[in-house]
């Protein structure tokens, strides 16, 4: 048999929860304020953490100091490194061999980029990256953790977001390609890429010609190179090596030079700007929220004079009154914090793919321990802010003239 509200026995321990229950509008309004603060804090913090994780992942994947690309394709090449759209570009003459002769180059390898078509319903647009397994120093190191054999002609290694059939193949240009490994999530456009050896590029181009328009002209298919990736020697910097390359041939002055370190730096700047705005917004919101809570709790002292006076007459000490107020505000903080974290999680986690796609920045979901820690921090902060809001109330009760103040209500 459950106790009805009228018959429920109220003890000093249950008094705060009963007070909150008896003032549903005030309790709901204060909980909504704390919920908004928690949503902003948890949502903003998760967004920042995921962007930082994405940037760290991008930095780990950039093995080259310099990328040499065809004229006017630098922005497309930069997009490949961050979270941009797939694209196709290539040199129309053999520059890879000449470029690698420049002074200051420790290692050089070439890559070929082809953007597949978004054909039927679930054939998505992929970035196909052809690389040379014998000279590669960019992809192999992180592919090695999941696939330690040499990639054979016609085989493919795909990123985490690529739709692989249950039989371990991918359909591209109306043909099925065997997938030998699927890589872990990186939060960059590499997740939506398929890696093939340079030997497979002509097959891919032919396949594209059969089902749609040819990805690149037949004469370039066998030798096509989209970029030369360079690791500079110790003591050289990427800019100096770029100048050395330009000196090799006057025509090389028009080539595009991309500095992955610089791309990381500019991505970091965009990310810092975004997180800076977020931090200012969250701080302003928390200050406003704290002011609202302080005002509501502060004004409630006058409103509750009779209630406090009655409790004092019944034998409650000043400490007990303070305890009741602090527990009431802590409960509001706790409820608001929990609801805020749950509400925020409901949008942040299911929509993480969409958020990353819209931001066009490397975005990688952090691990469970970090998520749980951030949830705990948010709930603790919400509880503390709730308690801090009742400070004004507690101070007024603690003044020597409190007895007279309380008597005003008698």
């Amino acid at each position: 048999m459950s106790d009805s509200p009228a018959r429920r026995r109220i003890t000093p321990a249950s008094l705060p929860i009963e007070n909150l229950r008896r003032r549903p509008f005030r309790t709901t309004a204060l909980t909504v304020v704390v919920t908004i603060l928690s949503v902003a804090f948890f949502g903003g913090s998760m967004l920042t953490l995921n962007l930082k994780e994405g940037l760290a992942s991008m930095e780990r994947r950039l093995g080259a100091d310099l990328m040499v690309v065809p004229q006017a394709t630098s922005s497309k090449a930069e997009a490949l490194l961050t979270n941009g759209n797939p694209s196709t570009f290539y040199f129309t003459r053999d520059v890879a061999g000449q470029v690698s002769k420049a002074d200051g180059i420790a290692e050089a390898t070439s890559q070929t980029y082809i953007a597949s078509l978004a054909a039927a319903c679930c054939d998505e647009k992929l970035q196909i990256i052809g690389f040379n397994p014998s000279t590669d120093f960019v992809i192999e190191p992180w592919v090695a953790s999941q696939y330690d054999k040499t990639l054979q002609r016609g085989e493919m290694i795909v990123g985490a977001s690529v739709n692989v059939s249950v039989d371990g193949t991918v359909e591209l240009y109306g043909r099925t390609w065997p997938v030998v490994a699927q890589l872990a999530n990186t939060g960059t456009s590499l997740d939506n890429s398929a890696f093939i050896s340079n030997d497979t590029v002509p097959q891919m181009v032919e396949a594209s010609a059969r089902v749609s328009h040819r990805a690149m002209p037949k004469e370039y298919a066998d030798t096509a190179v989209s970029s030369v990736l360079i690791k500079v020697k110790e003591g050289y910097d990427a800019q100096t090596v770029a100048e050395n390359i330009k000196r090799l041939n006057p025509e090389f002055a028009s080539l595009g030079f991309v500095y992955p370190g610089g791309v990381t730096a500019s991505t970091k700047t965009s990310l810092d700007t975004l997180t800076g705005y977020l931090a200012v917004f969250i701080t302003a919101l928390w200050i406003m929220g704290l002011i609202v809570l302080l005002a509501v709790f502060g004004s409630s002292v006058n409103e509750r004079k009779k209630e406090f006076a009655s409790l004092r007459i019944m034998g409650a000490t000043r400490g007990m009154l303070v305890g009741i107020i602090i527990r009431e505000s802590a409960m509001i903080g706790l409820f608001g914090g929990v609801i805020g974290v749950l509400a925020s999680s409901l949008f942040i986690f299911p929509f993480s793919g969409y958020i990353g796609n819209r931001l066009q920045l490397p975005y990688l979901q952090v691990g469970l321990p970090a998520i749980l820690a951030m949830m705990a921090i948010t709930i603790v902060l919400a509880t503390l802010v709730g308690m801090a809001a009742s400070v004004l109330c507690v101070v007024r009760l603690g003044r020597p003239e409190a007895y007279l103040t309380l008597r005003e209500g008698e």
Binding site: C121, N163, V164, Y354
Partner: protein
């Protein structure tokens, strides 16, 4: 009145969003002529049916007393669970993480399903308390 809004208006709004979402703002992949429709197409069809049923139940809940409304909202909560099960377990969406149905339709239906369950559960609790 408060319970009528929670038990009636909220399911109407959520049901409408569940029905309309996969056809409009959270659309699934387009079906190309001569190609077999993918799983996401059937998920959208199922969501349309379930959404309409939720909205109709919400409409009925506006005109009945508390006990019946509580019963209707138990059904709405179960339908909310079905809204989550359709794109995740029963039918599914395209596997590619960058596909629109995977990136937008799936999370939209999960969020709408969770909200349907939460609001229906709150209404059941309130109506059951008032009915005592």
């Amino acid at each position: 009145m408060k319970n009528r809004i929670l038990g009636g208006i909220v399911p109407i709004v959520l049901g409408a969003l569940i029905a309309v979402g996969p056809q409009t703002f959270a659309h699934v992949c387009e079906v190309h002529e001569g190609k077999m429709p993918m799983a996401c197409h059937y998920t959208a069809q199922a969501a349309l049916g379930i959404g309409i049923v939720i909205a109709v139940l919400g409409l009925i809940a506006l005109f009945v007393d508390g006990r019946i409304r509580a019963g209707i909202n138990i059904a709405v909560a179960l339908l909310g669970a079905l809204v989550i099960a359709v794109p995740t377990v029963l039918i599914g969406v395209c596997k590619g993480a960058m596909m629109h149905c995977h990136m937008v339709t799936l999370p939209t239906l999960i969020v709408l399903g969770v909200l349907t369950i939460v609001f229906a559960a709150i209404d059941v609790a309130l109506d059951a308390r008032h009915a005592k």
